[in-house]
């Protein structure tokens, strides 16, 4: 049936700069300062080693379940590196490298993962929301933050992170639509790590790319090699600049891979092959970036070994601090804190009741 074709203004592109062999596409070189390159490398390394350490802490029962990030460092770190400290970061729960970049302490991560609410505290001066477990729900908060900044005539940008699975949630849809309609300064970063727990991308959506979902909102969308930190950074920088200068939101799909389990409660062998994991290990963003920096003359094997030793030490100190701090976090009465600005009378009563019971229990324990 012959019909008129509708031309859609936005096109969807794919960006890769540093390929799997660490070869640079010179035309696309984002021209990042040596200083920044080295800082990115150091954070990636730290995050990778920290992930490994968290896993061993979890296996030893010293922290609870947590979601490892290994393999995805470039995807979220590259994106957040395009932000100013006063921009907003709205995380999901698999952006530890980006959180560290933004100033989150390693011990707060440990404390949070060991079931203390104190670990979710955000200090003044850091413009991040706490991690968000309900998949996709945080996307809308970035729209509100971005819109509010614009309303206040500040040029702050908000960057929201989420996974491939999150793109199926209604909140993803509502968030991108609101951002586009209100032209809010928001950058939507999807870490497409191919899996949502056991659900592969092909069962998540029939769309060829996630980036093309931007077309539904009349918004620019781009797919990047998410294991190529240069590409992620370049795409994010462009999107952040667009947002900051009033050009509205962008959707960035970072194609990456979760090398480890979904969380430490998950057994990926149930749903994916070792072979697939091996293939993706060849695309690991860390050695790829490292080799590039070596070739560029910014790093040597020795320097890397030294940096590794330093971050391992840094992590050890954080673990020690965290374990010391947690000894002082015992007080269960803290669970009544921070719910309202002022505690309602009936809750106050419950708290007193609880304190009385605690005291009695302690007395019994002393006597017993």
């Amino acid at each position: 049936m012959p019909r008129k074709k509708i031309s859609i203004p936005n096109k969807i592109e794919y960006l890769s700069i540093l390929n799997e062999k660490s070869e640079l596409d010179k035309k696309l070189d984002p021209d990042i300062s040596d200083n920044l390159l080295l800082k990115l490398h150091r954070t990636m390394l730290l995050a990778r080693k920290f992930d490994e350490r968290l896993l061993s802490l979890q296996r030893q029962g010293r922290i609870g379940t947590f979601p490892p990030i290994s393999g995805q460092e470039a995807a979220h770190l590259g994106a957040v590196a395009a932000l100013r400290p006063t921009d907003w970061m709205v995380p999901a729960f698999r952006e530890t490298a980006a959180e560290i970049w933004r100033g989150r302490t390693l011990e707060s991560v440990i404390i949070y993962n060991n079931g203390y609410n104190e670990g979710a505290a955000i200090p003044e001066g850091r413009y991040d929301l706490p991690i968000s477990v309900p998949v996709g729900s945080q996307i809308l908060h970035a729209v509100g933050l971005g819109w509010a900044a614009k309303y206040r005539q500040k040029d702050d940008v908000a960057m929201a992170f989420f996974g491939d699975g999150a793109t199926s949630e209604g909140d993803f849809h509502e968030g991108l639509n609101f951002a586009a309609v209100f032209q809010a300064p928001v950058v939507f970063v999807c870490q497409n790590n191919q899996w949502a727990i056991s659900i592969p991308l092909a069962k998540q959506t029939r769309s060829k790319t996630l980036a093309q979902k931007a077309l539904a909102y009349g918004m620019p969308g781009i797919q990047v090699d998410g294991n190529d930190i240069l590409a992620v950074f370049a795409a994010a920088r462009e999107a952040v600049e667009r947002a900051r200068s009033g050009g509205g939101p962008t959707l960035i799909e970072c194609v990456t891979y979760r090398l480890m389990m979904h969380t430490t409660a998950d057994d990926p062998k149930r749903y994916r092959t070792d072979k697939e994991v091996e293939q993706w290990k060849n695309r690991d963003p860390l050695p790829r970036f490292q080799n590039y920096l070596i070739r560029k003359g910014l790093l040597t094997e020795d320097k890397i070994a030294k940096a590794e030793a330093e971050v391992v030490q840094e992590i050890q100190e954080a673990v020690d601090r965290a374990e010391k701090q947690m000894k002082e976090l015992g007080d269960p009465v803290h669970m009544f804190a921070h719910l309202y600005a002022a505690m309602p009378p009936y809750v106050e009563e419950q708290k007193k009741e609880f304190e009385r019971e605690l005291a009695e229990l302690n007395k019994e324990a002393d006597h017993g």
Binding site: N117, A120, L129, P130, H141, G144, G170, G175, F178, L339
Partner: protein, 326 residues
């Protein structure tokens, strides 16, 4: 003082708070150009412009989620959900985030937002437009749940809700939007959240209600006085949650008898909590079981039968007599 309907009084509260504080922004479906389907936001867009009064796309989770982000930035969003029956679309945003952000961030952020929504029956509305499900929010820690019963307290409470540093769910009894007028002062008048009011004194019986049910409750009290010589004390909850039972308990200690009245379905409804608090704190003063006069445990029927569903003066009187006779 001008005589105002509840719609006008709410509009006054919004307008004055917006004049006073440029962090107050209004958003929702049809709240701008149209002035809201009940006209509560009428004229605000003309006065404050479309950057402070946002007509949003049709998506409740979007409205609430965006409000949460605005609030985290430091604004005071007042969002409207067109009818409370469509606030379930944003349930997760309220439960997972609005009620928790202060706690989750350990006091770094808080969510000074208000979610306004018309609720309840009595205006011959369409399906899903007449429900009364305030108990959902009342059971959710981290929220406040407020329901005014007249133009004047609607205005005073809305001002408090807007200024409240924590999220407030503000249900407006749509049956009262234009049902009557009251004197509402032009100058600032604030009514604190968390303080039920005794609106009629009496020593024989305590009647506890809120929202649109205050009117049949007060009518019943008058009729009980006229026909039975009974002095009923009537308490208007105003804040459903956090429930402050203090004056309820004091009243029941005096009267020994109580009736609780609400439109919501009875089972697991707000009345159950009131009964339980009185059980906890006034049991030895009770001379008869407390009666609940409520909506039935069914879905409120389409409008031709909604009167049969809603507690009537007759039903309230019958229950009051039962409690008095016991």
């Amino acid at each position: 003082m001008a005589k105002m309907t509840m719609v006008q009084a709410l509009n006054l509260a919004l307008r004055q708070e917006m004049e006073k504080d440029d962090s107050v922004v209004v958003l929702g479906e049809d709240v701008g150009v149209d002035g809201g389907v009940f006209r509560v936001t009428d004229g605000l867009i003309n006065q404050f412009g479309d950057q402070r009064v946002l007509d949003t796309p049709l998506a409740e989770s979007g409205i609430v989620g965006m409000s949460i982000g605005m609030a985290a930035y430091g604004l005071k969003p007042v969002c409207e959900i067109q009818f409370s029956g469509f606030a379930y679309q944003n349930f997760h945003q309220i439960e997972n985030h609005a009620a928790r952000l202060r706690w989750r961030s350990q006091d770094r952020y808080h969510v000074p937002m208000v979610l306004r929504a018309p609720y309840g029956g009595g205006v011959r509305a369409l399906e899903h437009h007449s429900e009364s499900r305030e108990a959902y929010w009342a059971h959710t820690p981290g929220l406040k749940m407020v329901i005014p019963s007249g133009p004047r307290n609607a205005r005073g409470l809305l001002v408090s809700a807007i200024r409240d540093p924590d999220p407030v769910i503000f249900y407006e009894p749509k049956a009262l939007y234009r049902a009557f007028r009251e004197d509402v002062p032009e100058e600032e008048e604030i009514m604190a959240i968390g303080e039920p009011r005794c609106v009629r004194q009496g020593s024989d019986l305590t009647m506890i209600s809120y929202g649109a049910m205050m009117r049949p409750t007060l009518e019943a009290a008058v009729e009980l006085k006229e026909k039975d010589g009974v002095e009923a004390e009537v308490i208007d909850l105003l804040t459903i949650s956090p429930l402050n039972e203090k004056i309820l308990v004091e009243s029941v200690k005096k009267t020994g008898r109580a009736v609780v009245i609400h439109e919501a379905p009875r089972s697991f409804g707000p009345g159950a909590e009131i009964v339980s608090r009185l059980m906890e704190k006034a049991f030895y003063y009770l001379e008869a079981p407390i009666e609940r006069v409520t909506g039935y445990d069914i879905i409120i029927p389409l409008f031709s039968r909604e009167k049969a569903y809603l507690p009537s003066v007759q039903r309230i009187i019958r229950s009051a007599r039962k409690v008095l006779a016991a």
